[in-house]
Subunit: 275 residues, 2 copies
């Protein structure tokens, strides 16, 4: 088990974590709290436009950790799959414009497409946009999603699948994003983190509430659930060689209803205590 | 892909599928519809007592496929773990009394107990009740649960884990229960069914709705979701050597609100069309 973190130098917050805040409000709030990293969701960019968002972020001095999210490659027609690739190239351009070195991919799934075919379509889709990512200097992070999203959000639902996909792609422009919420239950987690060594591009934290009341928007603040977050951070660092930002990504109707400034202070406490 | 089923000779319905019906009403309804198998949930036994339930079931001529459910072995104290074992011996006695040859185990989990320790406690718990099961002539079926239940319902959340556990237990009185709802997403499903050959004790069907609106009670009728049920049945039969009852187990607030007699007819149609 690693020692507790003693400062916020690696802390990053997702704008979706503080969803009620507009981008300028989020930037101001994170800055005031001394949180150095920000991961920006597209809906927060779209409200002001990528150019203006990029200016605001550069002026803030915050480190843009990633842009969420691209992906959603599988589709039942070739036309729709091509549209998805075009859209992902737009996401890459947007990332470059706001200064994000990474696009997080929620790879996609479709209830009418079997999982294996969906994964092949994902691999093919990512492969086709790698040249664009390379030209833009933006990496592509394959996020493993929990199997409860396997039918509609991602056919990449185990670390094993993501690692195999990254091996198959064989590009330094693709890597892995590990979110404890999606992978904590996996008995191969430790081994797969070791296998992913030096290809890990992102690390997301939150907690799994017991009981979980909603499939999407009932994530917990670190410490409010059952995930051994610090142990996993230890594996990420020692076995995975990961030293980057630790991103707090919490979708929670409950927490979105709180005063967001006080909520950020609570997240900072939880970060030191449980991450 | 196997041929469609052409009759109801292997069809079984769980009393929880028609939760609003009391045991006598369920027995009457299944009999009227020509559904030969019934899996009884404990709450439907408790309402009348095991002796009376056993008499009703024997008189009905229905085949009692299993009793749901035992399990829930992990606990934070030795006393609580011993109580769980005692309770499971009671479940076995109840199964014997109602003529059920199988107890389905939802093995249990606890947010404060790590998954590996929980699985060890489950293995130890099952091991300790095998003599009781053998004496009663009742088998113990380890059901794999979806990883979204890993914190509170079952630390056995992949086929791989269940097969390893069955191997470790090494008793003909334990085997596997496969529910398509819990395992459809697993890319090792086909291989693990093959590995489970001749240890498969039960097969549950329903469907995974897209989107799924609730973690517990939003299962779909076969055909109303994304699971390739017939393909999985093919694997169960050809690779797993399973020829037993096919049990319709659907927890659904929506379906519990329907007229249950009409609902049973719909289940029969879905059974022929999609299983």
């Amino acid at each position: 088990m690693p020692a507790a973190l003693t400062d916020f130098s690696r802390m990053c917050v997702h704008t979706m974590t503080t969803k009620p805040l507009k981008l300028d409000e989020a930037i101001a709030a994170y800055t005031k709290e001394g949180i150095p990293g920000i991961t920006v969701w597209r809906q927060h960019v779209e409200a002001v436009g990528a150019e203006e968002a990029g200016k605001m972020l550069r002026d803030s001095g915050l480190k843009v950790v990633s842009l969420c999210r691209g992906g959603f490659f599988p589709a039942t027609s070739g036309t729709a799959r091509e549209e998805a690739r075009t859209e992902n190239r737009r996401v890459i351009d947007e990332a470059a414009e706001i200064g994000a070195p990474l696009v997080v991919l929620v790879c996609g799934a479709h209830p009418e497409i079997d999982q294996q075919t969906a994964r092949q379509q994902i691999t093919d889709g990512i492969h086709s946009i790698i040249p664009h990512a390379k030209a833009a200097g933006v990496k592509l992070g394959i996020e493993v999603l929990h199997p409860m999203y396997a039918a509609d959000r991602s056919a990449v639902c185990t670390m094993d699948q993501a690692n195999n996909m990254i091996l198959a792609l064989g590009s330094e422009w693709t890597g892995l994003v590990v979110d404890v919420y999606h992978v904590w239950w996996d008995h191969f987690l430790r081994a797969e983190i070791q296998r992913a060594r030096d290809t890990i591009l992102g690390f997301h934290v939150c907690d799994w509430r017991v009981p979980t009341r909603d499939l999407l928007n009932d994530r917990g603040v670190m410490g409010d659930g059952c995930i051994k977050i610090r142990e996993i951070r230890g594996w990420m660092e020692e076995l995975g060689g990961f030293k980057g930002f630790i991103e707090v990504e919490i979708f929670s109707e409950e927490c979105w209803g709180l005063d967001q400034t006080r909520y950020l202070k609570r997240l900072k406490n939880a970060y030191l205590k449980h991450v």
